[in-house]
Symmetry: C2
Subunit: 364 residues, 2 copies
């Protein structure tokens, strides 16, 4: 088997392991739920549906962090850790979609929309949207609890006081804080110091995305395999700029992405009022009238194709898109050179390189 085939086979086996473990875990939970009432089935269905898809970026970062630190390829603990990360991600997405009023997720209805539709289909009373939000809050809470339950099942290596438990706790707290900073900037950004917009947006992506999507999962895998503090520092030097570049790419796709590929309506980030680094550059670099136009349009739910394409044009012409692409390139360079300095075996090194390339050059 070539090195590349070996990598592919190992990664496929891990992903299949995580999928199988998620399935077993959720089946067990479903048995408990069934004893309560058949009516709660849609909560479980929503969670199962959500953990079935996705790029499994976090689980894979965790896996290669583990392998890089000498963890064994056939280990059940790392599969359980991947399962916990995927459940946490599902919980975060459920609540995120409520917060961002996103009605679609991976091309299908988001969880709160699924519950609104259930309400409509059954001809239930009162407000279907409100019911959808309430049900999705509870589904997210349930999924958050499942994530934790799954993480604890790792056993002694994830026990109280362990390094991996500390990382998992910090990851949760930081992503929630980061998401708060994100929604705060949407409302406070317009009245705050404009020249600080890019720095604030950078801080937001660090906490809500980079630490959560790449840095902590990689460190978690490393810590579970007993990585040295030096190796964990090296992991961070690679994964933090990588995660930042990953989120900047996401921000670009949120404005310029093809809805067919991203599974989300074009310009959704603008309608939502997201004050990303891309938008921060535009607001600072565009002529006053155009900058004010963006400020006025951000967060306007009624934004149509015409306005979205006007804003796109401003972003391109003022050089904000270029500035963002330069930043992505700079952060990617930083990540890739840190990666090459890591004392890793060929297999995990190649795997992380491939993951990193996919993360920063993706189109969806």
């Amino acid at each position: 088997m070539t090195a590349d085939a070996q990598l592919h086979a190992e990664q496929t086996e891990f992903i299949a392991g995580v999928a199988g473990k998620l399935n077993d875990f959720l089946s067990e939970q479903q048995e408990i739920m069934a004893t309560i009432s058949p009516d709660v089935a849609p909560l479980m269905g929503s969670i199962s549906n959500l953990v079935t898809g996705g790029k499994r970026l976090r689980a894979l970062m965790c896996y290669w962090g583990w392998r890089g630190a000498g963890g064994d390829s056939g280990d059940a603990e790392i599969v359980t850790a991947g399962c916990a990360l995927e459940l946490f991600q599902a919980a975060a997405l459920i609540h995120d979609d409520i917060i961002d009023r996103s009605d679609t997720r991976r091309g299908g209805p988001s969880v709160h929309r699924r519950f609104s539709q259930l309400h409509e289909m059954n001809g239930w009373a009162l407000d279907n949207e409100r019911f959808g939000h309430a049900a999705a809050i509870l589904t997210g809470d349930l999924c958050l609890s499942f994530s934790e339950e799954s993480f604890t099942q790792i056993g002694p290596r994830a026990a109280a006081g362990s390094q991996s438990r500390r990382i998992f706790n910090l990851m949760r707290a930081e992503v929630m804080a980061g998401q708060y900073l994100d929604i705060l900037e949407e409302v406070a950004g317009p009245v705050r110091d404009r020249s600080g917009a890019v720095d604030r947006a950078k801080s937001i992506i660090r906490y809500k995305s980079a630490k959560y999507s790449t840095e902590h999962p990689l460190a978690l895998g490393g810590a579970l395999a007993g990585a040295s503090p030096e190796l964990l520092d090296g992991y961070s030097a690679f994964s933090l700029p990588l995660g930042e570049a990953f989120q900047l790419r996401d921000d670009v796709l949120g404005v310029f992405g093809d809805p067919e590929t991203t599974g989300k309506p074009a310009g959704d980030d603008l309608r939502e009022g997201k004050r990303t680094v891309l938008v921060g550059f535009a607001i600072n670099q565009a002529p006053a009238a155009e900058s004010a136009y963006i400020d006025r349009m951000l967060g306007n739910q009624a934004l149509g194709e015409v306005e979205v394409s006007e804003i796109r044009q401003i972003i391109v012409e003022c050089g904000a898109l270029d500035a963002t692409e330069s930043l992505i390139a700079e952060l990617s360079d930083k990540a890739f050179s840190a990666l090459e300095r890591l004392p890793l075996a060929e297999l995990p090194l190649t795997a992380l390189r491939q993951l990193a390339e996919a993360a920063v050059s993706r189109a969806a």
Copy 2:
């Protein structure tokens, strides 16, 4: 010291221990949060504020469950367990208040209202109510994570696979399922079989309240102290009917309670559309026209004093209030006789008796 003074002193010491531990725990978390941004302080402030008050019913059930099973009075683990339960309760309240659109909590603004007010005070952009909801979803998620982190700090006795971990997991899943059944009944109740309304309402209070507020906390304390399966069964025979009576009392207060004492506007449960056992009895026992009137008014946010008092009158005249009070009395009797059969020392027995009396006869 008399037995009563001893009980009081011990309980006071435990409550102070939980408060101190909560304070230490949240201070540590605040230090982490402060490294992210000073902007996230309101999330921590909301959580601190919420865990400062309250009846500490769950922590106390846990404590006496522990003492009844032979646990030591000066133990740090049970204080940590109480802390985890209080944090879980705070998280549940934060999300509950969003779901139920409750703008007040213990006489002050609920968490989503606090964030809406912060938005207004600062003259931020876009919608203050939406910001409040989003921020409160995140604050609840953070608090849910804290609860778990705190629970894990108990150590080996709460490790993966332990009886106490199983109880904690089940408690979380059941309360979320029960809350879903509650909001489902609000919307599906009007189109479902009317004769099943009381039974459905009974199932809801079992899961969303009785198991969560009394049965599981008591069992958790017992399990941490190594209680036998027989003792845990005996605990359930006492605590499940107690919790049901507790919630029925809550339902009565939700319609008939004095706002000065409950800290909530009169008739809020009706405005919210809660289909409680009390309402189920009324819908089945009232004359057709009055039953239809209640059906029509439930969930109407604009319900005024006049309508609330009309509904109250219907509930009283058709015998629904009496039926509910009889059920409370019946469940209380069941709980108290099960309590007297428990093989407990005098101190925990008296403590549980006092807690139970307070739970079913309270006015707030």
